[in-house]
């Protein structure tokens, strides 16, 4: 069994090659996938999130750590699936209709994947119907909406209303974010949660899935 502290360090420093190599070695020597994730990788990502909150880490560091985490998870996921383990949650994410910006949304998607979520990314300018279909057909249990423009923020409300109309709102949790979005706005439009940065979005998604219906 390799020194698993190296796995923690590799995720923390965003060193994908080392994360993958240590994971391979651990699997070959009979390491427990769940233990690798819960004892080393998730704590490392938590520390990354803390450093980001303290402004010692910025977006590039977040992305590198998420990439290292994802590289390792790609090796572990088939083993978990073979045991019948489910992903932490299934998130459908997109920038709302009328808004073409996707940098922030992409960042959240990367970090959610790094956090062990299965992510269905619809890109930008996404119509409410597509979110509804993802819930109905793909069993997403979290809908994550992004908007960069003040003028497209109302489309978040429209999307949530459409989810209600379609009768799927109770089955899912809705989280919202983007530069002009605020906690108050999120509450006003009936979202379940808001976060003001990509790292906090993962914490929020974890909190929401704890109370959501499993995919």
């Amino acid at each position: 069994m390799p020194d698993l502290q190296k796995l923690y360090d590799a995720v923390l420093s965003g060193d994908r090659n080392t994360a993958v190599a240590v994971t391979q070695e651990a699997i070959a020597t009979g390491g427990d996938p769940l233990e690798l994730i819960s004892k080393y990788m998730v704590p490392a990502m938590d520390e990354v999130g803390r450093l980001f909150e303290c402004e010692e880490y910025f977006v590039p560091e977040l992305l590198l750590s998420a990439r290292a985490m994802k590289g390792s998870l790609e090796l572990l996921r088939p083993l978990l699936a073979a045991r019948g383990a489910q992903p932490v949650g299934r998130v459908v994410i997109g920038t709302v209709k009328g808004d073409l910006h996707d940098i922030g949304k992409n960042l959240v998607a990367s970090l959610l994947e790094g956090g062990g979520f299965e992510v269905i990314d619809f890109g930008a300018d996404v119509a409410p119907e597509k979110f509804i279909a993802a819930v109905q057909e793909k069993g997403a249990n979290i809908v994550a909406l992004s908007a960069l423009l003040t003028v497209t923020m109302p489309a978040m409300r429209t999307t949530i209303d459409a989810l209600k109309q379609a009768g799927v709102r109770e089955r899912i949790k809705v989280m919202v974010g983007g530069a002009p979005v605020t906690e108050q706005f999120a509450a006003e439009i009936g979202a379940d949660g808001y976060s003001d940065n990509a790292s906090a979005a993962v914490t929020l998604a974890r909190r929401l899935t704890a109370t959501a219906v499993r995919p």
Binding site: E55, Y57, F58, V59, P60, E61, L63, K97, G98, D99, L100, H101, D102, I103, N106, S110, D125, L149, T150, V151, T152, M153, A155, P180, T182, Q184, F185, E188
Partner: protein, 292 residues
């Protein structure tokens, strides 16, 4: 004496305010790339440019912020790149009628280099095509603005410099406790050093935060490199009041920071998102008051 030095003899120059929020007020729909209005609604775009010239802007920009090959290509408008950029410069020049300089706007690709969403080669090519069209249409200078990634800023600068026009590179400092980092973590010192080394004619800060955060950033850019500094601040952050979107800063509050920015060494002062011709008039009033 270079063209830029000549203009800066009367520095600080007052530039213009926001275009996007002004075009929205004229009916631009969410989801429409504002730059396409250069071809479909040139009269409305020109009315925005003219309002700034009449308010006293000595430099106005062009409605070409998103007219790079990556953004237009993704929207299926790649074949209109040259027409959109040329029209953007022509509209601003018509409105300026020799009373204001026209600096052509080049915004980011909206894609991240470090995740491989766009390659450096593709970004360089995208900026190169845009810069060539803007220069051919007669822009006085090129403004690379709202950058957050030093690498992308360098690529845009490299492409813009091939035109031989003066090039200003401006970053959005919207992160960190003191709003003195870009989203990618770059500090004013890193920006000033890297852009000077890469051959920028001026460096700057735009968008991101309210004007009160810009004095510190301006000082730090100025302390790190000898280049002129370009400043364009937002009208604070957008707020939602009774369903309507408003910006928190008044024109008077905004303009009250002009003396501090001039003192900090800003050579160009104007407004970004949420600012209007009223903000420019207030800047002009403050400057004449300060000089009297």
């Amino acid at each position: 004496m270079s063209a830029l030095d000549k203009w800066l003899a009367q520095s600080p120059l007052i530039t213009d305010g926001a275009w996007g929020t002004q075009l929205q007020a004229l009916g631009l729909e969410p989801g429409t790339i504002p730059d396409t209005w250069n071809l479909s609604h040139p009269d409305r775009v020109e009315s925005v440019a003219r309002a700034y010239v009449e308010a006293g802007s000595q430099v106005i920009l062009t409605n070409t912020f998103r007219a790079n090959a990556v953004t237009l290509g993704e929207a299926g408008l790649g074949d209109q790149l040259d027409a959109i950029n040329r029209a953007g410069v022509e509209i601003s020049k018509r409105a300026a009628v020799g009373r204001a300089l026209v600096f052509a706007s080049i915004g980011p690709t909206g894609k991240m280099l470090m995740t491989g969403e766009v390659t450096p080669e593709a970004a360089l090519e995208a900026f190169g095509a845009q810069a060539a069209s803007l220069a051919a249409a007669g822009a006085d200078a090129l403004l690379v603005e709202t950058m957050s990634d030093i690498e992308e800023g360098k690529l845009a600068l490299q492409a813009a410099r091939t035109t031989g026009l003066p090039v200003i590179v401006s970053f959005a400092f919207d992160s960190g406790k003191n709003k003195d980092r870009t989203m990618m973590g770059a500090t004013p010192e890193m920006v000033a050093r890297e852009m000077e080394a890469a051959g920028a004619d001026a460096v700057g800060a735009n968008c991101g935060a309210g004007i009160e955060c810009f004095v510190n950033v301006c000082k730090r850019l100025r302390a790190t490199c000898p280049l002129p500094v370009w400043i364009k601040a937002n009208a604070g952050l957008p707020e939602i009041k009774a369903g309507a979107i408003t910006y928190s800063t008044s024109a008077e509050f905004f303009a009250s920071h002009f003396p501090a920015l001039a003192e900090a060494g800003a050579s160009f002062v104007g407004g970004c998102c949420g600012t209007t011709p009223e903000f420019i008039r207030a800047l002009v009033r403050t400057r004449s008051g300060a000089c009297a």
